[in-house]
């Protein structure tokens, strides 16, 4: 009897504690997200009004207020539309959206980074159906192409950011580095000089963490003529250029020319070290400028292109987020309301406000012109983002590739053979 009792007790205890611990993490929570707008609730058509629900990502502290004002202004000027914007933090947004989808309550419009997974499940509408021609013409063509699957554009960009090399001018001068490195060889030579000048300063910042290791792969692959995809559009992860790129950066780590722990030090850790004058050079997004400028003792820094291998051209890494429209058995009135939403959002002044407020870069040509005219520093960044390369997020296997290249980098740090690791990843992804 006691055995049965014990087994029952153990089951009950494990059940309850497993639910508190592991179980909860893998199950999408059905509750309202903590970061959501308290005023936002499930929209319902009031009278003859057309209801549109939007889930938007929370980029910063001001995002909620900005959307709240937007909602008020939009509803104030559109008597026939009832717009409801729910702002959700990046930590929760994927879970929230997936839960809504599995409960057949997808939002009408979603602002997030990825779109291919939703498209693969036939959940999205082709975006051109939902955006007026006038608004659609505002986007950079290269940006729209990033959301192209089988010749159809499924999403439009809301904002972008680009990466470049940041360097501490004072450290480079003191270490005798006369010219800012533009090639891999010059970069290594500069790192060696900085290390010889002061062993307590890290010459080069590397982030190979789960958070952003894929960016590290892109920085060196793209500046060595490599890529995630081959010319024929199939995965080419184990190309000679990619192997050489990973070996180069792992070599810098092993030679002690980088931060001490690239597998656990994120870009934010590097950003802090750079702002504190403990890191001489790093690759980062445009927001680092304002981060460094806002510190107590701003360092004297410069921005340059990401160094490339001899004879290869440099390339910036662009990152962009998107708007997409879910297929919810919509009426023509609703599609018109959605078009009106985008017209309102991408209205040049309002859109520039949004991008400047979030400290990102614009994804529309007109927005870029306004920002460049207002701020000369932004002009160079807008030029960089206009020519940047993007991750192949339209590929259905991108999430596996992203995690795969991070794993390769981390295994290589632990002594793994880069060629063998990339061969194995290629076989796994392409097979």
């Amino acid at each position: 009897m006691k055995k049965i009792l014990a087994a029952l007790l153990a089951t009950a205890m494990t059940l309850s504690l497993a639910a508190c611990g592991g179980g909860g993490t893998s199950t999408p929570a059905a509750s309202t997200p903590a970061g959501s707008n308290p005023s936002a609730s499930t929209p319902a058509a009031s009278g003859d009004k057309v209801a549109i629900s939007v889930i938007a990502a929370e980029y910063g502290k001001q995002t909620k207020d900005w959307w709240s004002n937007f909602q008020t202004e939009f509803n104030g000027s559109h008597d026939n539309i009832d717009l409801n914007v729910e702002v959700v933090s990046w930590n929760d947004i994927y879970t929230v959206v997936n839960t809504r989808i599995s409960n057949n309550a997808a939002p009408d419009i979603l602002n997030i980074d990825v779109f291919a997974d939703y498209q693969a499940d036939d959940l999205l509408r082709p975006i051109q159906e939902c955006v007026s021609d006038e608004t659609y013409a505002k986007f950079y063509d290269a940006f729209l192409e990033q959301s192209n699957i089988d010749g159809t554009i499924w999403a439009i960009p809301d904002l972008a950011s680009a990466r470049a090399m940041y360097y501490n001018k004072d450290i480079l001068d003191a270490a005798g580095v006369d010219t800012v490195p533009t090639t891999w060889a010059e970069l290594k030579a500069a790192c060696e000089k900085i290390k010889a000048y002061d062993a307590n300063i890290y010459p080069w910042g590397v982030d190979m963490t789960t958070d952003e290791g894929q960016a590290c792969f892109a920085y060196y692959s793209w500046t060595n003529g490599g890529d995630f995809l081959g010319a024929d559009g199939s995965w080419a992860l184990n190309s000679a250029e990619n192997v050489e790129a990973v070996e180069y950066i792992v070599g810098l780590v092993k030679d002690g020319l980088t931060n001490s722990d690239p597998a656990t030090q994120t870009r934010y850790d590097l950003q802090e070290l750079f702002a504190a004058g403990k890191l001489a050079m790093m690759i980062g997004p445009n927001q680092i400028s304002s981060y460094v400028a806002s510190s107590d003792n701003p360092i004297n820094f410069g921005i340059a292109s990401i160094p490339a291998n001899e004879g290869k051209s440099t390339s910036s890494v662009g990152v962009m987020d998107r708007f997409m429209v879910f297929e919810n058995d919509d009426t023509d009135d609703k599609i018109d309301a959605i078009k009106e939403f985008f017209n309102f959002f991408y209205e040049d002044t309002r859109y520039s406000d949004w991008v400047i407020m979030e400290d990102f870069l614009p994804a529309t040509k007109t927005g870029g012109e306004i920002m460049a005219a207002a701020n000369p520093d932004a002009a160079s960044w807008i030029e960089i983002v206009g020519s940047a390369k993007f991750y192949p997020t339209a590929q259905a296997k991108w999430a596996d590739v992203k995690q795969g290249v991070i794993d390769v980098e981390q295994q290589a740090l632990l002594g793994g053979n880069v060629k063998e690791l990339l061969d194995a990843l290629q076989a796994k992804i392409a097979g």
Binding site: A7, L9, A10, T14, A18, T25, A399
Partner: protein
């Protein structure tokens, strides 16, 4: 706010209730149903917040789940086979077992010793007990962040302290290998688990009648004889509870490892829980993540059952 009507005498209350249940049959029925009414809220809450997620996890683990969270039907346990075939799963399972055993065994041992010390009469005992509670009263994320800060190479307090004491001349990298990171994570795990064991054991120690020790002293028993023949057998039930709960808590612990390393590099510091989190929310593989969750649940169920059956049987034999 009304301040009148404090507790009415019991007889008066029963007199007030009487007119509502005049029929003895109804009263009997009420008595039978009454306990279920009282436990109904707990049962309902458990069903919503515990049973439903568990059922959902089992359902997800046996279905093909798209990245957007759509269920595409039973997939012949493919999630389980994919997870088990992945070479990193064996590493993660090994880490989980090592993590659970190291944290539970060492924290039980240290917590027990600390409880013995705190059970003695000494000046400032209350303050010492309060200090022991501190790690328990702080959230795990804060604890793990503090530990990460302490061992940081560049601005960590450990390096600063050792340099000020003149023990080292330049900052040392305390986390140069995955094994070093994992050791620090285990150390943090032990530190935050000790208070729980300590207070479980302390409650057991305080219930032991002092006359046992007096009798043993008269019979000439030494410190260790008293410890092993009196103290240990009498706090065994407290230790059982703390150990079983710890096995489950530590096995499922997420914040320490996630805050310090996120399981990096290359899964070398991952446990099942951080691994399934990455599978679900970084790789979008909710089906496989749920399969890992179910495997963890089964392992825990077996461990907890064996341990409880064993200790209860021992209890029977002792009687």
């Amino acid at each position: 706010m009304s301040t009148k009507t404090p507790a009415a005498p019991a007889r008066q209350q029963s007199q007030q209730r009487e007119p509502r249940l005049p029929n003895p049959g109804n009263k009997k029925l009420f008595r039978t149903v009454e306990p279920y009414i009282w436990i109904a809220p707990s049962i309902i809450l458990m069903a919503i917040f515990i049973v439903t997620p568990i059922v959902k996890v089992f359902q997800l683990s046996m279905n093909k789940v798209t990245r957007a969270g759509k269920l595409k039907g039973f997939n012949n346990f493919e999630n389980f086979t994919t997870v088990i075939k992945d070479p990193s799963f064996a590493l993660v399972l090994k880490n989980t077992i090592l993590w659970t055993i190291a944290v539970v065994v060492l924290s039980t041992l240290l917590g027990f010793i600390l409880a013995l010390i705190l059970n003695n009469e000494f000046k400032g005992r209350k303050v010492a007990r309060a200090i022991v509670v501190f790690p328990w009263a702080t959230t795990l994320v804060i604890q793990a962040s503090a530990w990460k800060f302490i061992v940081n190479t560049d601005y960590g307090t450990l390096n600063t302290l050792l340099m000020k004491m003149g023990i080292i001349s330049a900052p040392m990298n305390w986390t140069s290998t995955p094994a070093a990171w994992f050791t620090w994570e285990i150390a943090c795990g032990i530190f935050v688990t000790i208070p729980f064991v300590c207070f479980c054991v302390l409650s057991g120690l305080q219930s032991i009648d002092n006359s046992y020790y007096e009798a043993a002293t008269v019979d000439g028993a030494g410190y260790f004889q008293k410890l092993f023949k009196i103290t240990l057998p009498l706090v065994k039930s407290s230790l059982t509870v703390s150990t079983v709960l710890n096995i489950i808590y530590v096995f499922n612990s997420f914040p320490i490892i996630w805050t310090m390393t996120k399981g990096d590099p290359a899964n070398h510091t991952d446990t099942l829980v951080t691994y399934l989190y990455k599978l679900a929310f970084y790789n979008g593989k909710q089906g496989e993540a749920s399969a890992v969750s179910v495997i963890g649940f089964i392992i825990l169920l077996i461990c907890a059952s064996i341990y409880m059956i064993y200790t209860l049987r021992k209890g029977d034999e002792d009687l």
